[in-house]
Every structure is written in structure tokens, then in C-alpha cells.
């Protein structure tokens, strides 16, 4: 395949909070400005813009791409919005990658902004309308319930306990203590997770990420432009995405096959033969604690049913052999849906540049990935990055 090589050259992120006074477009503008300033660029240097943002129902504006366009730098630019639910934040940079890789543009500003708090009494009300209106909505399911079904199946299949899974939450919320944008940094114990309120067994309050407001942005550039901007470009070497059956209940819930297909697509493009060895650091999507383990297996970073052992052995700690969610993840930094995925991309960008500060993992990693997951629990999006 012939395409331009694409680098991430700048990044910006707002603080993730439960309720921002800023509007979604103001959050987008703050993150975008930060990303541009981080690499000494202005909107004059930006040739195209890609916006990622999740359900229109969060804002009650059914043209959310247009609504957020001013804050995202869309004014008089080739501007596109895309949306694959929770997978959006890693799909947006893939979308931006296409803009540049195709040769159509040399730069692209990728922005992800989410304001969930406008939705009352709870954003779960908006999530209800992601279900089939004839066969599912009348049963009043929430996302927490269907994740509970998946978590239970994952536990049943491999004999994993709630206590073991809770260690992911403990790890990620602690990692978030070093993240300046974090909403829920905290030092907790497995007992705290176990004793937190049961929402839908086996899911407790501290097993899950919060609803959040926040935005993130990155600047992409083609190789010849990137080399003028920075001596530390981080290359997008592989992209992949995949969608499983629309009948989500029919999938094998214990294994995210669509994540595997997305990962294999990205690995093939990046020339990765042994992901367990070659992917040194990863940000798997962790809206619930079990999802980090589930996704490590789908990403082929652990054998099936074995991710939990890596966790128990401490390998996924920031100073472990294979750090997972060194940022603090959705569990710790927060989960403003689309912005979460881009936050993960930014974490790998900073880690590969050695600029993650207190969060920096040891060993000077050269290759990492970020992954997100969404739609009705059946889309996987993956980006592989190298320095």
C-alpha cells in the first residue's frame, strides 16, 4: 500500500471533570489550542480537521459535528465528524491518519470533545437509545447491566473472581494520581471496590469509570512536515478497526473477536509479528475494570484467560514488564467518551517521547498501542505507534 507516513507532533488535553462550566465547544477549543501550541503551530498550518464526538443525545443537538465545529477549528476547513460510540476516540485519529496518509493533506487537527453532564437526570438515559427500539428498549436496559452480563460471562468462562478484577481499578485509579487531567485519582484497596455499592452484580460502583466532561486534541503531520516541526515525532505505524454482529447478545461475550480483528489489521500494517513481545506499553480501553483484561486478550497481548495472571504478577503495573493504562485509564482519568480514547493516544505519544513525567514507564519503550471499544459493545479501534 502506498501512503504518506503520518506522525503525531502535538497534543493537548483539558482536565476531565464531572461537570464543566465550559460548553463542549469551549472544551474542544481549549484542547485544540493546547495541541497547536505544544508544537508551535497555528490554525493557518492546519489543512484538515477531524472531529470525534459521541451520541448527539448527550448535548440534545442533532448536528453535533456542526455544533462543535467552531471549537474544533472547523471554520473554512475540510472538516469531518465521525462516531463509533466508545470507539470514537481511537477512530478519530485513524480518520485523521487517512486524511494525511492519502496524500490529500499534510496536516490534520484531530479533536475529541464530550460533555456528558448536560444530559439529565443521567447520561444513561441517552445510552438507552443506543438499543434496538423494538426488542430491547422496552426492557429498560442500561449499559451497566449489559456490561454486567459480559463481566459475569468472562468470570464464569475462566474462573476469575471479582477480587482479582478489582485490582485493575486499584491500579488505574492509583496511576491517575500522577495525571494532571484526572477526575478520579485515588488510592483504594480491593476491599474498597468490593464494599462499594452493587449496581448490577457483579458490577460495583468502583468497578466502573465515571461520566465526565472533557476534550483532547492531537496534531498529525506527514513525514516531511513532521520533521520540520519536531525532532521527536511519534509515528502512526498501524491502524485497525472492526465491527462484530449487530445482534450484540449473540456474540461470544467472553472474548472480543472484533478487537482481535482490528488489532491484527493494525499489526499487519505495522509489521508486528509477535505483539506480546513487540508492544511494550498499551492503553487498552478500560471503562470497566474487567475490560482491561478482556481487551488485553483481544489485542493478543495475553493468551485467553491469562491476562489476569499478568495483573496478579504485577506485570501490568507502570513499572512492570508490560505496563497497561499507565495514564490511569478511563477508570482513573475519567471517561468523557470520545476524549477518553484520544487521551489514551496522547498517553502513548508522551510515553514514547519520554515526556510522561511522573507517569513515565521505565525502559524507553519504542512501540505502543491505544485501543478503544464501543458501539453496542462490538466495535474495536486500534492504533499502533512507534518513535
Amino acid at each position: 500500500m502506498a501512503y504518506q507516513r503520518v506522525a503525531i507532533v502535538g497534543a493537548g488535553i483539558t482536565k476531565f471533570v464531572r461537570r464543566a462550566q465550559e460548553t463542549g465547544k469551549e472544551l474542544a477549543a481549549q484542547a485544540s489550542k493546547m495541541a497547536l501550541e505544544s508544537c508551535g503551530m497555528t490554525m493557518d498550518d492546519i489543512e484538515s480537521v477531524s472531529l470525534g464526538t459521541a451520541p448527539d443525545a448527550f448535548d440534545g443537538v442533532h448536528m453535533k459535528g456542526e455544533y462543535l465545529s467552531d471549537g474544533s477549528g472547523g471554520w473554512r476547513k475540510p472538516y469531518m465528524r465521525q462516531f463509533v460510540g466508545g470507539g470514537t476516540g481511537v477512530f478519530a485519529p485513524i480518520h485523521g491518519w487517512y486524511h494525511v496518509a492519502s496524500g490529500m493533506f499534510d496536516t490534520c487537527l484531530v479533536v475529541c470533545s464530550e460533555k456528558m453532564s448536560s444530559c439529565h437526570p443521567h447520561p444513561q438515559g441517552a445510552f438507552k437509545t443506543i438499543f434496538d427500539h423494538t426488542t430491547e428498549q422496552p426492557l429498560n436496559p442500561t449499559l451497566i447491566w449489559i456490561f454486567a452480563l459480559e463481566m459475569n460471562r468472562f468470570m464464569q468462562t475462566y474462573g476469575i473472581t471479582k477480587e482479582e478484577i478489582a485490582l485493575v481499578s486499584v491500579k488505574n485509579k492509583k496511576n491517575a494520581m500522577d495525571h494532571p487531567a484526572a477526575q478520579l485519582p485515588m488510592e483504594i484497596t480491593v476491599e474498597d471496590v468490593m464494599n462499594s455499592e452493587t449496581l448490577a452484580w457483579p458490577v460495583n460502583r468502583l468497578d466502573i469509570s465515571p461520566a465526565s466532561d472533557g476534550a483532547a486534541a492531537i496534531v498529525l503531520a506527514s513525514e516531511h512536515v513532521a520533521k520540520r516541526i519536531t525532532d521527536k515525532p511519534v509515528w502512526i505505524d498501524g491502524v485497525g478497526w472492526n465491527l462484530d454482529t449487530a445482534y450484540w447478545a449473540t456474540r461470544d461475550l467472553y472474548y472480543p473477536r472484533y478487537v482481535e480483528k482490528a488489532a491484527r489489521m493494525a499489526y499487519d500494517m505495522a509489521g508486528i509479528k509477535e505483539p506480546k513481545r513487540e508492544i511494550e506499553i498499551a492503553e487498552p480501553y478500560d471503562p470497566f475494570d474487567y475490560k482491561e483484561l478482556h481487551h488485553m486478550e483481544g489485542l493478543l497481548l495475553a493468551d485467553r484467560g491469562e491476562a489476569v495472571q499478568m495483573l496478579l504478577d504485577g506485570k501490568t503495573q507502570r513499572d512492570g514488564d508490560r505496563p497497561m493504562c499507565p495514564s490511569g485509564g478511563a477508570l482513573g482519568v475519567g471517561n468523557p467518551i470520545s476524549a477518553t480514547g484520544l487521551m489514551k493516544i496522547i498517553e502513548i505519544f508522551l510515553q514514547l517521547r519520554g515526556e510522561a513525567g511522573k507517569r513515565q514507564v521505565p525502559g524507553n519503550p519504542r512501540c505502543g498501542l491505544a485501543q478503544a471499544w464501543g458501539d453496542l459493545m462490538q466495535v474495536g479501534t486500534v492504533v499502533v505507534m512507534r518513535r
Binding site: 464531572r18 461537570r19 462550566q21 443525545a57 440534545g60 442533532h62 453532564s117 439529565h120 437526570p121 443521567h122 444513561q124 438515559g125 438507552k128 427500539h133 423494538t134 426488542t135 430491547e136 422496552p138 426492557l139 429498560n140 436496559p141 442500561t142 449499559l143 451497566i144 447491566w145 449489559i146 454486567a148 452480563l149 459480559e150 459475569n152 460471562r153 464464569q156 478520579l184 455499592e197 452493587t198 449496581l199 448490577a200 452484580w201 457483579p202 458490577v203 460502583r205 468502583l206 466502573i208 469509570s209 465515571p210 461520566a211 454482529t245 449487530a246 445482534y247 447478545a249 449473540t250 461475550l253 471503562p287 470497566f288 478511563a330 471517561n335
Partner: protein, 157 residues
Amino acid sequence: MGLTEKINRTDHLSYFEGQIPVEYVYTYGLGLEKFFRAIKDKGQFLASRCKACGVTYLPARSFCERCLGGIEDTVEVPGTGSVYSWTVVHLNMDETPKEEPAILALIDMDGTDCRFMHYLTGVKAEDVKAGLKVKPVLKAKKDRVGHIEDILGFQPV
């Protein structure tokens, strides 16, 4: 996702209220129309089989998602199945507690390649396990309107 803190006070922020003032009138579509008519009139579960792919869809569908081939014929299946996974739900959508925790399950439907999401009735949470055989509980015929809630839930066989 879920809240870890509940915002009940918004008085320190400037805000106003809004809504999307629409309602929806949904058609069942060509496939589901057959399914819900059979539930209403006969208490039967109708599935659709794509012969090319060997996949049996429940509820009945008018096309196959794998090959996009049309499916005209329906086949009756028993409506029984076995529990694939389950959860015990404690909160409503607005995070108010449920009067009684409810058991929501995914059920592998016999004779099909599909699962139903529905509630379990007549069983205690501690007695549910993967593989538990269940059968549907329908409303009385006179009360059925052709809706997913014509099925009250599934109970152990």
C-alpha cells in the same frame, strides 16, 4: 458510564433546562412483524433461517446480516433456552434503587443461533447458573398486543 458522584446541586453554575420535543412511531419492519404477530396470536416463537449461511435468527428477520440474502420463510422454535449469562440489577436508569432487585439474563435460544435478553422470573439469584434451562412466560392471550413485553420473562423449566 456510571456516576461516582451525584450532582444534585447545580446552583453554583449558570444553567437552564432543555429537551428534545419529539416522540417516535416505530414500524416493526418486514421480519419482526411476523415474529410479533405470532407471539400475539399464537404464542409462538418464529425464527428465520439463512440456508446459504446456515444461521438461524431469532426474532425472525427479513434478511441475513452475513450475506444480505433475503429470508422469506419462518420456522417455529420452542422458545426455550439456557442461561448464557446473567446480572442482578439493583438500580433504575436514574440510579434510584429498585424495589426488588431483578435478574436480567442472556438466553441461548434453542434451535437458533441467537440469544434473547430478558428477565428471569420464579427463581432466586443464588440459584441461577450458566446452562440453567428456561422457558418463556407469556401474558394471557387477551392481554397480548404484539410487543416484547408480551413475554413477561423466562422461568426455569
